[in-house]
Amino acid sequence: MATHQQGKKQRSRADWLLLVVGLILGSAFGFWITPTILYAEKPQPLQFNHKLHVEQVDKGCKSCHQFRDDGSFSGIPGLATCKSCHSGDEPLGNTPAEKEFMKYLKANKPIPWHVYSRQPDCVFFSHAAHAENAGLECTKCHGQHGKTEKLRPYEYNRLTGYSRDIWGRGPIGLAGPPDRMKMDDCAKCHRENGVNQACFVCHK
């Protein structure tokens, strides 16, 4: 019995500190590793200066991001829209990005832009209902994108393939638009404005 008692070590209460240290380190690891392993980056095919272009046009975002005749939204403009200004063979400015752009224009090859705000395929979203009928500003969801001078790299989720902008850039995805564009944000806005929140409104 005596031998047994001698073998019992007197433990320090400070041992429990290790649990706290582990918890902090584990949590920090989780916060660090989640975006690192989950998201990958792709550069945009060429650079684009929104600020410069907005200054040149008179209808703001709608100058290029137009509604079609049938009311549907064109999203990112095609080459035909670019050609309404870039009609000649020579670049209008002298940036390397425009020189790169001219190659697409001359080959009549569509520019494979990566769309930051592309919603999942199961979502039906009408720009006409929100920007036209409800009068929402573009910045409500897209933030100050129209004032940027450079396009940041496109980050996408390796598992789902969707843009990181949908989940949001915050580590735990709890922000609201324009940081993120999740279903909760749609539902919150619908709830606040007394709009139908039924599933079929967005999931046709």
């Binding site: 433990r11 320090s12 400070a14 041992d15 429990w16 500190l17 290790l18 649990l19 706290v20 240290v21 582990g22 918890l23 902090i24 380190l25 584990g26 949590s27 920090a28 690891f29 989780g30 916060f31 590793i33 989640t34 989950l38 079609r68 049938d70 549907s72 064109s74 999203g75 990112i76 403009p77 095609g78 569509p110 494979p112 999942p120 395929d121 199961c122 989720n157 598992l159 789902t160 393939g161 969707y162 989940w167 580590p171 735990i172 995805g173």
Partner: protein, 769 residues
């Protein structure tokens, strides 16, 4: 504080709790759930401007509306095929083949994208450029022509009335070959019957306005003319609050049409024409016929030949006939009287259930029944279509000197692809050196598929012009990629049985795959390379230009292309014009008599040589000839017939993955096994049971299947689904069931010489399955 096991466990537990307090686990779970939503089972088109364009599916005759999306990156892409409500025949409806057409258009597994040259010994395909491929074909044809062997080149096409078909005919004729044949259709049988009796090749049935319809063994609801138009007419018959019309179906099987009919008269196989004659006899006996027919030529005896009336009275005892056809006489009499009494009754003949072009004398019998009813040129009756205002592609070309392989020695030429193939295989009078397969997938569709397979195998040089890597392409030495109907120009003419004539046109709506060209363009390019009289016979830059010339009388071509169709405004009601030698309806056909005795021939001998067992005494009258399948002997005691369905096939296009998906277990079951039907009593006699694996064997071929017992099948018969059993066409379609046309035996129709395969004598044996 020491670092030991206990402290490590504390640290580890803390770390695990910490990780769980981070977004790592919930975020991965959430994204995993979203990932599962992205499994690639529903293709999502690129976002873009939506547009609609009208077009016509040349394989089904359906007026369609293609929904197109102009994607920013992918460009114009078709995403849906809907019905065109303006189209006079289909009126907004579509068939499964139309609705799922994109599954063939965008199936990269089956589309041919570049000219391919096959090495026969290794089967390896190598890519060629278009100039190389065209030079190869043109060189081969020019070489044959130079050596006086142009007739040893044959071409098989899908539709002779299409502009591509017309170009193919002119190309071969200018080259000096008489050997061109096309997929046989009931339009040709009807044209012969109409010409022989009325001098009218284009006849139709005014189904939409009829209120008593008797269908003689033709699958009205499962493959007749423009199927959507018939379904629309059927919807009209089933009006609310009560039926607006009565449909009687006469055929040996409780088919979809029979089950939807008000009355089904189950007759013996191949006796439908006999029933039509029995109805004529009953109407004469009861005096319930239109007296105008008495002024028809051949009603009474004339020129030493029996008239229709005396033929019926002398040879057609109604009780014996009803017994021969296996129908109860009282039921037949009651139905005939109701038919005679109805104000807008029509008797309908058409393609057989097996997809054959029908028997000439059956068609003539049904036309005679309509004439007795007095419905010619009347609403709800038989009407003459206005001929389509199509111009010829050029002047007449000299006839090729060597005799054609098919129809040699016949008094009138018809299109018999089977006879052509058999003569070429036998080398009588000569064999083939080159074979051009321009659509139609003959190696699968046959009509006797194994004969067409042998022809492709034994012909030294085979060229397939096709959008798909189909069975014909699989046998070809050179495969030339042609466009899908949504990618290129093309046209189609009035579907069988339509009351109004209708021309359908399709134009390029989306960019074609890689290097595919319109079938007509490929033939025109060949003609240019051949030069001389061939190039002079086809002086068009492309198929669109040839179509524009052909349709000049239909107005502005651009507008026509956008509308996608031209149609006769309404059926031609009024007294029918008979362009016969007598200027009257001819129940005893003088046209036929003149043809048979042309050049001092013995009409009786000629008739018998043409397979008319009754001889010249009745060869010019509508009468009944016993089907050849009856005479197959004891080795093949059963009769095989197909079960057509709009879900398995329509036209010469293959079944699509979607169509395979909607097939019930009664058609395709147990790991893609074909299911054949038999009456329980017949199965009992053969010691067969439900679910047995069976071998269905004819003297021409065989197939294996699973047996199902069906009381709606006529005893002594076996019924086989049509249109399945592709060996190629992608993993969703290949290997599903077996090809009915691999077991059929094709014979020549008495008198007309058209290939027919409605019935085949077979044996059915149990095998290990």
């Amino acid at each position: 504080m020491d670092w030991d096991r206990r402290t490590f466990v504390k640290f580890a537990v803390g770390a695990v709790i910490g990780i769980h307090a981070s977004p790592l686990i919930p975020k991965f779970m959430d994204d995993t759930a979203i990932w599962t939503q992205n499994w690639n089972w529903v293709p999502v088109p690129e976002d873009g401007a939506v547009a609609y364009a009208h077009t016509v599916n040349p394989h089904t005759g359906t007026g369609a509306k293609a929904k197109l999306i102009d994607g920013r990156v992918e460009g114009l892409r078709a995403i849906r095929v809907e019905g065109n409500p303006n189209h006079p025949l289909s009126q907004g409806g579509v068939l499964p083949a139309d609705a799922s057409a994109l599954q063939l258009l965008y199936n990269s597994e089956i589309r041919v994208t570049k000219p391919l040259l096959r090495n026969r010994s290794t089967g390896v395909m190598t890519q060629l450029s278009w100039p190389q491929a065209l030079d190869l074909v043109a060189g081969n044809l020019a070489n044959l022509a130079k050596n006086g062997q142009a007739h040893m080149a044959a071409a098989l096409g899908a539709d002779p009335s299409s502009t591509t078909g017309q170009i193919l005919m002119r190309l071969m004729q200018a080259l000096g070959s008489p050997n061109v044949a096309f997929t046989p259709t009931p339009r040709e049988t009807m044209a012969l019957a109409g010409l022989f009796m009325m001098g009218q090749p284009f006849l139709g049935f005014d189904l939409a306005n009829a209120n008593y319809i008797v269908s003689f063994g033709t699958p009205l609801l499962d493959g007749f003319g423009a199927p959507v138009a018939v379904r629309k007419a059927f919807a009209g018959w089933r009006g609310y609050p009560k039926n607006q019309a009565r449909l009687v179906q006469i055929e040996p099987r409780a088919s979809v049409t029979a089950s939807q009919a008000d009355q089904w008269l189950a007759c013996k196989p191949g006796s439908e024409g006999l029933v039509a004659l029995a109805m004529c006899r009953i109407m004469i006996d009861e005096g319930v016929y239109d007296r105008a027919i008495e002024s028809a030529y051949g009603w009474n005896d004339a020129d030493g030949l029996p008239g229709f009336k005396s033929y019926l009275l002398k040879n057609l005892d109604r009780a014996k006939t009803a017994s021969l056809a296996g129908i109860s006489l009282p039921k037949l009499v009651k139905m005939t009287l109701a038919f005679a009494k109805a104000d807008r009754a029509v008797a309908v003949c058409g393609p057989g259930n097996s997809g054959d072009p029908g028997r000439l004398y059956d068609f003539m019998s049904v036309l005679a029944l309509n004439a007795l009813k007095g419905n010619l040129g009347k609403p709800g009756g038989v009407v003459a279509q206005q001929p389509l205002p199509l111009k010829s592609l050029g002047g007449a070309l000299p006839e090729a000197k060597p005799p054609a392989l098919a129809m040699a020695g016949r008094p009138f030429g018809v299109n018999n692809v089977h006879e052509l193939a058999q003569a070429a295989l036998a080398g009588k009078p000569y064999g083939l050196k080159t074979l051009i397969l321009c659509g139609g997938n003959f190696v699968f569709n046959g009509p006797q598929a194994n004969v067409m397979h042998d022809l492709a195998r034994k012909t030294p040089f085979v060229v397939a012009i096709t959008p798909y890597m189909d069975e014909s392409a699989g046998m070809a030495d050179l495969v030339l990629p042609s466009t899908h109907w949504l990618e290129g120009w093309g046209d189609s003419t009035t579907p069988f049985g339509s009351a109004v004539s209708c021309y359908g046109l399709h134009r390029p709506l989306v960019k074609s795959v890689d290097e595919a060209k319109d079938g007509g363009d490929i033939l025109l390019a060949l003609a240019q390379r051949l030069g001389g009289p061939v190039a002079a016979a086809l002086p068009f830059k492309n198929l669109g230009e040839a179509m524009a010339k052909r349709t000049q009388a239909m107005g502005d071509f651009k507008k026509l292309a956008e509308a996608s169709y031209w149609a006769q405004k309404r059926p031609a009601y009024g007294a029918m014009r008979f362009n016969t030698p007598s200027g009257r309806l001819e129940l005893s056909s003088r046209v036929l008599r003149n043809l048979l005795s042309k050049g001092g021939r013995d009409a009786d001998k000629t008739a018998r040589a043409l397979g008319v067992k009754a001889g010249a005494q009745t060869a010019f009258l509508p009468h009944w000839e016993e089907p050849a399948a009856y005479a197959e002997g004891a080795a093949y005691p059963l009769v095989m017939q197909a079960v057509p369905s709009l879900r398995t096939t329509w036209g010469d296009e293959a079944v699509t993955p979607y169509m395979v998906k909607i097939l019930p277990d009664t058609v395709l079951a147990n790991t893609d096994k074909l299911v054949v039907e038999m009456h329980p009593a017949t199965a009992q006699q053969l010691h067969l049971q439900e679910g047995d694996a069976v071998l269905v064997e004819s003297s021409a071929g065989s197939l294996t299947a699973k047996l199902t017992l069906y009381a709606g099948a006529a005893p002594g018969m076996v019924f086989v689904p049509l249109g399945l059993g592709h060996k190629d066409f992608g993993f969703q379609v290949a290997g599903k069931g077996m090809n009915f046309n691999r077991a059929v035996k094709v014979t020549s129709d008495p008198m007309s010489g058209m290939p027919i395969w409605e019935l085949t004598g077979v044996s059915v044996k149990k095998v290990r399955g």
